[in-house]
């Protein structure tokens, strides 16, 4: 190799060339390179020596040099390791961490002060004269909500009729959240039905069934039917009294979770498997989408949807609101239960 300058490898041009070629070397590689160079030097030295004595002398020298080199190297490695272990406590990093925490606190304090100041300037909460309480939107919801949507509970009328598009999105948020947790935590058997040992261990861990607690089982025996019945009541009366799909679904979900805790997975799987979950969510969400698409389409094209509103206050009234409430309730209940089951054993 014809290198004119000894430090050719370190020249700026050579570094640039390496960078362009995409072969820029990390620090360790460069260390190896210098080691190799030292080896070359030794060989050259060995060739030059001719006489025996000189050779012996050289040999000793070489050995001592090698020893020295090895010690040096070990020292370096030790130092590097120590540096790495001590890294979070070295001066610069510690100072940086302190400054970082201080600045973070400062920014937090500043944001809190600004937000508090803002809240102080907002219209007074709950007073009648605020822009949100006194405009035509709230007025129409309250005054004509019952006659236009057929729902006595204005809130249900608002979320499932006036602003049904938002709720359509919202119920899909629940669905997508359940799917994401499923992706993250579901334990999968490989293509040939085998699982790795790590997966098996995890599965065993999660399948650890709850103990057969007599007290819990007895209480659950009485409570679960009541809870689920109450949930169904809340859903079915969502348009008449406070409640609706979201709250009723959450109640049913809680009932299912209690049942699962008391009686274990085997008994629950008799009536609630992954298939049940996907069928119920699928049917509920598809019905929701189709029904609302139909009603949006009719509304936008100024057609009448042909769905009777019925008399306000009856169970079967207010058009699409009751079926939509049932759909939302199913989705919420399934999602609640699915979250719990997936976290518990990595599957439904």
């Amino acid at each position: 190799m014809s290198k004119i300058r000894e430090d050719y490898e370190n020249t700026r041009w050579r570094r640039f060339e390496r960078f362009v070629n995409g072969e820029e070397m990390p620090e360790e590689k460069r260390l190896e390179l210098t080691q190799a160079k030292e080896g070359d030097k030794e060989e050259q030295l060995a060739e030059i020596t001719t006489t025996q004595s000189l050779r012996r002398k050289r040999k000793e020298e070489r050995e001592s040099f090698r020893r020295y080199w090895r010690e040096q190297q070990e020292k370096e490695i030790k130092e590097a390791l120590k540096q790495r272990a001590d890294w979070p406590n070295t001066g610069g990093v510690r100072v940086f961490r302190c400054v970082y925490r201080f600045v973070a606190l400062l920014i937090c304090a500043a944001i809190i002060i600004v937000l508090l100041e803002t809240v102080a300037e907002l219209p007074r909460f709950g007073s009648a004269g605020t822009p949100a309480n006194s405009n035509e939107v709230a007025e129409r919801y309250i005054e004509r909500g019952q006659e236009e949507t057929g729902a006595v509970n204005i809130v249900t009328g608002m979320i499932l009729d006036y602003r049904a598009f938002d709720t359509l999105g919202e119920s899909h948020v629940l669905f997508i959240a359940a799917c994401t947790v499923l992706i993250l935590l579901r334990i999968d058997h490989g293509k040939d039905g085998k699982t790795t040992s790590a997966q098996l261990a995890e599965e065993d861990d999660r399948k650890f069934e709850p103990k057969n607690d007599r007290i819990l089982q007895k209480v659950a025996f009485f409570l679960v039917p009541c809870i689920i019945l109450f949930g169904i009541y809340v859903i079915l009366n969502g348009h008449i009294s406070p409640g609706g799909g979201f709250s009723g679904g959450a109640i049913i979900g809680a009932g299912l979770i209690l049942y699962l805790n008391a009686f274990g997975f085997k008994k629950t799987e008799r009536f609630f498997t992954y298939k049940t979950f996907s069928t119920i969510s699928l049917c509920a969400l598809l019905f929701y989408s189709v029904a609302k698409c139909y009603s949006f389409f009719c509304g936008a094209n100024h057609l009448s949807s042909g769905i009777p509103l019925g008399t306000a206050g009856d169970i079967i009234s207010s058009g699409l609101i009751l079926p939509l409430n049932i759909c939302v309730g199913c989705v919420v209940a399934c999602t609640m239960y699915a979250f719990y089951a997936i976290f518990r054993k990595g599957g439904i």
Partner: protein, 497 residues
């Protein structure tokens, strides 16, 4: 009412239902259904674009109740252009990475990937078309969760960390946006963009609620800037783009962050009104961050050994360009920003797909020292990578060049000080872009005979080849027929506010 006017509604509901159905299908039918729906959505949005260009904008009532009471979507030329474009990019990204989706993801979860893709498209379309701030927030939620799932579905350690980082940062952004929306509702009593705008222009005259409104603009801008990875908030980006499956990286970089930027446009133009935003000097702040991001992103990209992370850091710089365009505070700047949304999406997604093709023939390594000569081993991916790189650097005839010209034009129209800064930043950033992208191109075209012999029997997946060719055509189209698109954007922006 013309049937085409219903298409945005059909689009959104169709993709929602498609996503739900995909969750119970097997992998293959799910893929077919999902791709078919994306293509159909693209065709429908093309019709909508034609209709909007011919008959002008319109609002569409979602249900039996008119706007301030019910929900509403608004369709104009700008929305339709972006919706059509997003569908095209989504289709090509999924098509290009389709082969690797089946490899990277466990078989039983592949259908859920397509669920996420469909719901992502739904949320993007809804974000584009919505005329209501709360609807926007609901679909921001769907978008965030779907993006997290798209990152994490290739389950290895890196993607889990990346998804966690993404979720934390992105949820902070969502939170700030939600606080902003709440305050706006409190102050104005409305959620519909038009009504809020009316109320705010009244306040602007009387000077009421000046401080809360300023804070609100700040919160919303920061929230959306975090979600779209503007420079100081970009920490989630390199991992998320660098380790996820190539389709996800392409979708995330080219669509997800862009959806949020478009929402920010909407908030600036349709909610606050651009004059109000100018009075509060928000654009100046965005301008500064954009310029810093343009340079810092490029500098960080230079240090990367990993081709995927290099492309990811280059995204930070390109997002900086878009915010600089908004920050110039002239109409032309916004045109340039919207055009850059499109040109960056077209080039970046192509780069991610092509980079996967290159690393495929280099022993699945993304490191530059292994990628040597990859352009000879996988010719089409090499060409596509070079086209994408040249487009990002700004070589004439390609999309990136045109958007840089528009940025320069916009800078000339801006105030003197901004013009100087923007011009210098553009020049420096272009040179830095060239340093790392040209270096990457040189690396993949440096012969490496040992590997080339080994990779002789490699066959490029056919779907990827089709996607790459279409990407190249799209890039050249954006670069050469830019007048058409610029006219459409200008037309859309005129009626936008």
């Amino acid at each position: 009412m013309n049937i085409i006017q219903n298409f945005p509604l059909f689009n959104i509901v169709m993709c929602l239902m498609g996503g739900v159905i995909c969750s119970v299908l097997k992998a293959k039918p799910a893929k077919c259904l999902s791709m078919g729906l994306i293509a159909l959505a693209g065709v429908m949005n093309g019709c909508v674009l034609w209709y909007a260009a011919k008959y002008g904008q319109y609002t569409y009532m979602m249900g039996h109740f008119p706007a301030p009471w019910g929900n509403e979507i608004r369709v104009g030329v700008l929305e339709a252009v972006l919706a059509l474009f997003f569908c095209i990019i989504m289709f090509l990204s999924v098509l290009g990475g389709e082969h690797y989706i089946t490899i990277d993801i466990e078989e039983s979860k592949t259908n859920l990937y397509f669920t996420m893709v469909n719901l992502m498209l739904t949320s993007l379309l809804a974000l584009i078309y919505t005329n209501d701030l709360f609807t926007a927030y609901v679909f921001v939620e769907i978008n965030t969760i779907a993006a997290g799932a798209l990152i994490m579905i290739r389950s290895n350690g890196h993607t889990l960390v990346a998804a966690t980082k993404y979720m934390i940062m992105s949820l902070v952004g969502s939170g700030l946006l939600l606080i902003g929306i709440t305050m706006l509702y409190d102050v104005s009593g409305h959620l519909l963009m038009v009504n809020i705008h009316e109320q705010i222009s009244v306040y602007a005259r009387t000077g009421e609620y000046a401080f809360p409104l300023t804070v609100t603009i700040g919160l919303m801008s920061v929230g959306l800037a975090i979600k779209s990875a503007l420079f100081p908030f970009h920490s989630w980006l390199p991992d998320a783009y660098g380790y996820s499956t190539p389709s996800s990286a392409a979708i995330l970089s080219s669509l997800v962050s862009k959806g949020y930027i478009f929402l920010l446009f909407k908030i600036f133009y349709r909610v606050f009104g651009f004059d109000f935003v100018l009075d509060h000097k928000v654009t100046n702040i965005l301008f500064v961050f954009g310029v810093v991001g343009m340079i810092a992103g490029s500098v960080m990209a230079i240090y990367q050994h990993d081709v995927r992370r290099l492309i990811a850091f280059s995204s930070v710089a390109q997002i900086g360009y878009i915010y600089m365009g908004i920050g110039l505070a002239v109409p032309m700047g916004t045109v340039a920003a919207v055009f850059h949304i499109m040109s960056h999406a077209a080039s970046k997604s192509m780069l991610f797909i092509a980079a996967k093709g290159l690393s495929d023939v280099s022993g699945d390594s993304k490191d530059f020292s292994d990628l040597k000569g990859a352009g000879f081993r996988n010719k089409l991916a090499g060409i596509a990578f070079s086209v994408g790189a040249f487009s990002m650097v700004g070589i004439p005839l390609l999309a990136g060049f045109t958007s840089k010209v528009y940025f320069a034009e916009a800078a000339l129209l801006a105030s003197n000080r901004k013009m100087a800064v923007a011009m210098v930043a553009l020049a420096i950033s272009t040179i830095l872009n060239a340093v790392y992208f040209i270096r990457a191109v040189i690396t993949i075209y440096t012969p490496n005979p040992k590997r080339e012999l080994a990779a002789k029997d490699y066959r490029l997946p056919r779907t990827m080849a089709v996607a790459l060719v279409l990407f190249i055509i799209l890039n050249v189209f954006l670069g050469t027929w830019s007048n058409l698109i610029e006219d459409a954007i200008e037309m859309g922006l005129k009626t936008f506010s």
